[in-house]
């Protein structure tokens, strides 16, 4: 921080700015928590991002952080920073609803490894956030806790499933939030709410103590203000975890060290296959403007095709539906009426998919990843696409519970994000403009497996020359 932090601007700081200000003694953790609580008190009645607010515990944790710092204890990299998390990260002894009626009173006996790592880095956990029921929709509808509303325009979707995470970061309720991403559930709320969201490489972050949706495609990652925030958050949370044997044993690099702003010679492929089908003109215009920004920084942008994508899209539709149907089967038999209409309808279809297609989808995943890399990431460092092809949809026009005819519009929301879950690639969404209704547009960047540093490097360079990520919704 170069300048003293004024109290009025505290809630507008990025996560890393808040952490660095605390570490430098420029701001107290209590002031950061109180700035966030004031925003929540003023605006969550409109946004409905919060499920449980642990006000007193957050203030007590802040007081402890301030006392430790005053005593000369070296702060962790996220010390003093208030966060809230999607209500599917288990903390022993605390209710974790998973956004559902079925688990409204569920008290887990374990704590998620990612929460333990954030705790160890000094982050302050203020409570839990609204989400799609069992993380199963891309829009942010929730029949049990109320829909989450887009802070930029309350009648519009936040994106899901990490709806409260995206809306709350945008509304300046906290500096960072955990989301989860099985088909776009981090990147979609990031896009629709105008914040930054990172889906790491499949297996990069432990899923121990996290509600399952689809064990083949679930990912853990942050929604934050900036690429730098995402870099620091990932550095804290990534790395092998013995409690999650599927987590990768890759070493965790210093992601922030990659954020040099220098992307001269970076090769970006714009894939004309699939990702622009039916795209709205404000989206394509913002995307092209974003490419111009990256070109001006020295990136080389090339249009390509990737004929493998229709196969990827078809198989993507199978895995999470079948795995979701399997783990919900008992509840679907015994009390399907406890699910929202749209969720039970979606799960129901999973029972119709033949098992051999499920195995085929899993078995083709490796070969199709190799084909995609050969077609789109050989000779190129990153693939760029719009995160959402259309303008942000309204809550009404994607509400299946109200009208089943909205089905195809609802399912189309995640068309551009789902393929990267199947492929397992690290992918970020960053704000790159606003549409004619004043709602955000997102740019999606994907890299090779475990190339989060490259993805973050490009996103950070873009954010050095743009201010879309700094804009604050007028609630």
């Amino acid at each position: 921080m170069n300048a003293p932090v004024s109290p009025a601007s505290l809630a507008d700081l990025s996560m890393t700015e808040a952490a660095d200000a605390f570490a430098a003694g420029e701001v107290k953790a209590e002031a950061l928590v109180r700035a966030c609580l004031a925003r929540i008190d003023a605006h969550d009645r409109q946004v409905n991002a919060v499920i449980r607010l642990d006000r007193d515990a957050a203030l007590a944790a802040a007081a402890a952080a301030d006392a430790a710092r005053a005593a000369g204890t070296r702060p962790g990299s996220l010390a003093g920073v208030p966060m809230m998390h999607k209500d599917m990260y288990y903390r022993a002894g605390k209710v974790s609803t998973c956004g559902s009626k079925i688990r409204r009173d569920h008290v887990p006996e374990v704590t998620a490894t990612v929460l333990e790592r954030l705790d160890a880095a000094g982050a302050i956990d203020m409570g839990t956030l609204n989400m799609a029921e069992f993380a199963q929709n891309p829009t942010g509808h929730n029949a049990h806790f109320g829909h989450c509303h887009n802070p930029w325009s309350l009648d519009y979707c936040t994106g899901g499933s990490s709806s409260g995470s995206g809306a709350g970061v945008a509304a300046r309720f906290f500096y960072a939030a955990l989301g989860s991403d099985t088909g776009g559930s981090i990147r979609l709320p990031a896009t629709l709410c105008g914040v930054t969201g990172l889906k790491p490489t499949q297996t990069r972050v432990s899923r121990a103590g996290v509600m399952p949706l689809s064990f083949s495609a679930d990912n853990v990652g942050p929604l934050v203000r900036t690429a730098r925030d995402a870099a620091r958050f990932l550095a804290v949370t990534a790395g092998h975890d013995p409690k999650d044997p599927t987590s990768a044993r890759e070493s965790v690099p210093d992601y922030e060290a990659a954020l040099t702003g220098d992307i001269r010679g970076l090769r970006i492929a714009v894939c004309d296959t699939y990702f622009f089908d039916g795209a709205d003109s404000p989206v394509t215009a913002a995307f092209e403007a974003a490419m111009a920004v990256l070109r001006a920084r020295g990136a080389i942008v090339t249009r390509i095709t990737a004929p493998v994508l229709p196969a990827v899209a078809a198989y993507t539709a199978i895995i999470s539906r079948v795995e979701g149907a399997a783990i919900h089967a008992n509840w679907m038999r015994e009390h399907p009426g406890d699910y929202a209409t749209h969720l039970s309808a979606r799960l129901y279809g999973g029972y119709a998919i033949p098992g051999h297609y499920y195995v085929e989808a899993l078995s083709r995943r490796g070969p199709l990843l190799r084909e995609f890399v050969a077609q789109a990431l050989t000779g190129y460092d990153l693939v760029a696409t719009p995160t959402l092809r259309t303008r942000v949809p309204s809550l009404a026009e994607t509400d299946i519970d109200a009208d089943p005819e909205n089905w195809s519009r609802f399912m189309a929301v995640s068309a551009n994000t789902r393929p990267f879950n199947y492929l397992g690639l690290p992918t970020i969404s960053i704000p790159c403009g606003f549409d004619d209704r004043g709602l955000p547009i997102g740019l999606q960047l994907a890299g090779r497996p475990f190339a989060e540093a490259r993805v973050l490097q490009a996103a950070d360079a873009f954010q050095r020359d743009t201010d879309w990520h700094r804009r604050v919704p007028a609630l």
């Binding site: 490489t201 499949q202 297996t203 990768a248 229709p310 196969a311 899209a313 078809a314 198989y315 539709a317 199978i318 149907a325 089967a329 679907m332 038999r333 399907p336 009426g337 699910y339 209409t341 749209h342 039970s344 309808a345 979606r346 129901y348 279809g349 029972y351 119709a352 998919i353 297609y357 195995v359 085929e360 899993l362 078995s363 083709r364 995943r365 490796g366 070969p367 990843l369 190799r370 890399v373 990431l377 460092d381 299946i400 519970d401 089943p404 005819e405 089905w407 195809s408 399912m411 397992g424 890299g447 090779r448 497996p449 475990f450 190339a451 490259r454």
Partner: protein, 68 residues
């Protein structure tokens, strides 16, 4: 007009999984699967005998960025 696949699929789900139609939207969702079936039709024959799920982890490793 509802695709003819809906009613027999409902019966297959009931018989195999013990799950009955939860609501009208679910019927709509089943009708929507005609598109997925068509996509999968186009992919018939692409799976080879030796393909298996664990090849994905190997592909993640093999497809990492080459050293610069």
């Amino acid at each position: 007009m509802e695709p003819e696949l809906v009613a027999p699929t409902m019966e297959a789900i009931r018989r195999w999984s013990g799950v009955t139609l939860p609501n009208a939207a679910a019927r709509h969702g089943l009708a929507d699967m005609a598109g997925l079936i068509a996509e999968l039709d186009k992919l018939r024959g692409t799976l080879v005998f030796e393909d298996e799920p664990s090849s994905f982890e190997a592909a993640l490793q093999d497809c990492k960025e080459p050293a610069r």
